[in-house]
Symmetry: none
Subunit: 452 residues, 2 copies
């Protein structure tokens, strides 16, 4: 569920005339979140208004949104600092929001400076004093965001705000992956089903791909090294009583013990993945084994299929007997253009030859850069045979070095996102040559558009 | 103080005849640490001995080392799992070590699976039951290592084992930087002097350098972004009551608050940023206004100086009268190579001409890809005039589309990270042409290496 986020009404303005609140009303979301002040210092010195007017702002805003049929979450900004400075006023803000109809009052440790024990103590006190349904929103400035969120849950909070992998400004937010895993596996609070829990690793890595941030191998529960057993002392012991060296069974969160080659590291997983993708095909054990071999080889060359399902889909299709590639590259030459001092434009040029239905088609194009030129040339060559491609456009393009140790000589991985207006898909390419890696992802994108 | 680390004596061997213990004795360290089993499962199934023999091993080993004049810390491995499985036996191990003369008994959450609340509960119980001086050793497998260490300290532990920056196997250990900062600044436990506290940032970054691990900008207390204020809502407010947006004064731990470059929306911020960078220059109001103009123009073309401070540094230097560029690009031509079906290799080639000290220098190079070729060609052209460049190498290279709506025709932003073994810096380039954007970031990287 997506909820739009906005502030309480401005000072000395009617809620019904506040453009931010109106925008929340106009959103089609059934739940909206509004943030307001609960620290007296911020009311008087940042908002520069009176404590009473701030209570009115909270009350009016929540009531107005409720009147428009919205469910409302209220985020009490700087709550913990506010509670330390003026507990009575901070609690009044919670009561104002609750009485106006806010469904959850979320206590925010906006500066991230509160330790878990104090979070628990304050959440307990507010819960006792107000009876409101409370949420918790922590930041990681003291390296304890997850612990504080869990402490608040123990103290009675029933909503946790955070982010996948803890991404967020400064030191990040509470990592929801860790919070969800601990609640389900350590605290007996089943916020996720077993199946959802089993997807945590995949979700975490997918979001890292989309954010173009390397997935930390040391990330708790879901990192590639989270269940890696180091040598020396432990090796023999691990073999004897494996479970005694793991705080949970890694499969529960979709991870595995050992350094992962990938989540597709077994024939069973390949078959499950094929089923998950809904390709409507059944692989024989032999086909699955061959596909697994191919995936492993490609991964060792820098490909990664998490976040590039369309390329994986094509791998599966190509492994089936009778699959016919819609086009095959015969030859390409790309120049990245030249540019001369004081002459701004740097054109790229691409010439390609592809085989389509047994015939060779050549095409050349110029573009703002070499990748753009390559894209244009490829489309030109294919659009006569596959007119549907004219609706396909690229919506994102990302590059990352796979092996950071070798700088520009390292393998780069290109991820491309495409759409035809209805569907959105992602493809991957990997090569030491950024243009070749781009070509791979581009070609997969168009092949998938034609075949899927 | 360094303390050597070893195991309790082997089974069925006299302590005086155990080579590991003898090595500890021979070390010149006044304090030694021995690790032993406290989980019954590990005693019977990993050591394959009796519970009594394990108690003897603990007792004999500690007593032997004490007899040789050593102070002894005893690490009780898997203590929390052991306590859950057989609390009575786990406590017997603690007592055996304490009675034999161990100065601190360190309770280890070796698998890292225990949440802070349970750590506190168990430490309290053991403290109450044994009266021993306890320590705590946590791992970050549940994303709560720091919180668990702090919870144990509150429950009576007087020694914390962890690592600088939390480095360690699997998900890492308790981060001692965060533990020390919280104890001193949040819990009133002065484990460090003010001066030592003020060195935390430097220590953290120094250890990262030595370990050759990039220092995480998001690291609590000491990261480069730990006190970074982003724009929007907060800018005016931060100016009004700065302290209210920071959970501690960053100077206390040797860090500084910084305005992110992308929010340099006023002349005052530009001046402040120039000061922050420690360039030792003072801009006139007119120079600051011109620089701001230039930054805005470049940002509108896709540049972003957050995370590319070396490029920003160069912008400032270039805006000063008398700055002389160490080289100027005269001409370049780059080909991304061509590749033909079934022929795997796709070489890149680059030819460049630069002016260095009034003379034109030409150079050409081939590489795994066009960017690698460009990098090599540029270094070749410059290294004779600037030999220090031979130590510079690229450590990271990232590309992202700035305007996602236009796919491959959109502007791409390239971020490059470089090092000369001592310093690490980041530069940026932006263009519709990925090769040109890469050139810009590469050229900035080398110019910064020469001039800064």
């Amino acid at each position: 569920m997506l909820t739009p986020f906005g502030s309480t009404r401005r000072t000395r303005v009617e809620a019904a005339g506040d453009s931010n609140l109106l925008a929340l009303v106009e959103s089609c979301a059934p739940v909206v979140t509004v943030v307001g002040k609960s620290w007296d210092l911020h009311v008087t010195r940042v908002l520069e208004t009176s404590l009473d007017e701030n209570l009115n702002m909270v009350r009016d805003s929540v009531r107005f949104l409720r009147g428009k049929g919205k469910r409302v979450f209220f985020d009490a900004e700087h709550f913990f600092d506010g509670f330390r400075a003026n507990p009575r006023y901070a609690v009044e803000v919670v009561l104002a929001a609750a009485e106006a109809g806010a469904e959850h009052i979320v206590l925010c440790d906006t500066n991230g400076g509160t330790l878990p024990e104090e979070v628990a103590r304050i959440v307990s006190a507010v819960k006792y004093d107000t009876g409101a349904r409370l949420g918790i929103h922590t930041h990681n400035d003291t390296d304890t965001a997850v612990a504080s969120a869990l402490a608040a849950v123990r103290a009675g909070a029933t909503q946790v705000q955070g982010t996948i992998n803890g991404y967020g400004e400064r030191c990040g937010n509470a990592n929801l992956i860790s919070v969800a895993a601990a609640m389900s596996l350590k605290m007996g609070i089943r916020s996720l089903s077993d199946a959802q829990l089993g997807n945590l690793t995949q979700v975490s890595r997918y979001v890292a791909e989309i954010a173009n941030i390397p997935h930390a191998p040391s990330q708790p529960y879901v990192g590639a090294s989270a269940f890696a057993h180091k040598g020396g002392l432990h090796v023999a012991a691990v073999a004897k009583v494996k479970e005694s060296y793991e705080h949970i069974r890694p499969e529960l969160v979709g991870n595995a013990n050992r350094v992962l080659v990938s989540e597709l590291s077994g024939r069973g997983n390949i078959l499950r993945k094929v089923q998950d993708l809904g390709l409507g095909v059944t692989l024989t054990p032999d086909q699955a084994a061959k596909l697994l071999e191919r995936v492993k080889e490609l991964e060792s060359r820098g490909f990664q299929y998490e976040g590039a399902e369309a390329s994986f889909d094509l791998l599966v299709r190509r492994s089936l007997p009778g699959y016919e590639a819609p086009f095959v590259l015969a030859r390409t030459a790309v120049s990245s253009g030249q540019w001369v001092r004081a002459k701004k434009q740097a054109l790229g040029k691409a010439e390609i030859t592809v085989e389509v239905g047994g015939k060779k088609v050549s095409s050349s194009a110029a573009g703002n850069g070499p990748v753009n030129a390559l894209d244009t040339a490829l489309r030109q060559a294919l659009v006569q045979s596959y007119p549907a491609l004219s609706a396909v456009r690229l919506t994102d393009y990302k590059v990352r070095v796979v092996d950071e140790r070798h700088g520009t000589a390292a393998v780069v991985r290109v991820l491309i996102e495409s759409t035809d207006g209805e569907r959105t898909w992602r493809t991957v390419g990997a090569s030491a040559n950024i243009i070749e890696a781009s070509w791979m992802a581009l070609a997969d994108s168009l092949e998938w558009a034609i075949r899927a």
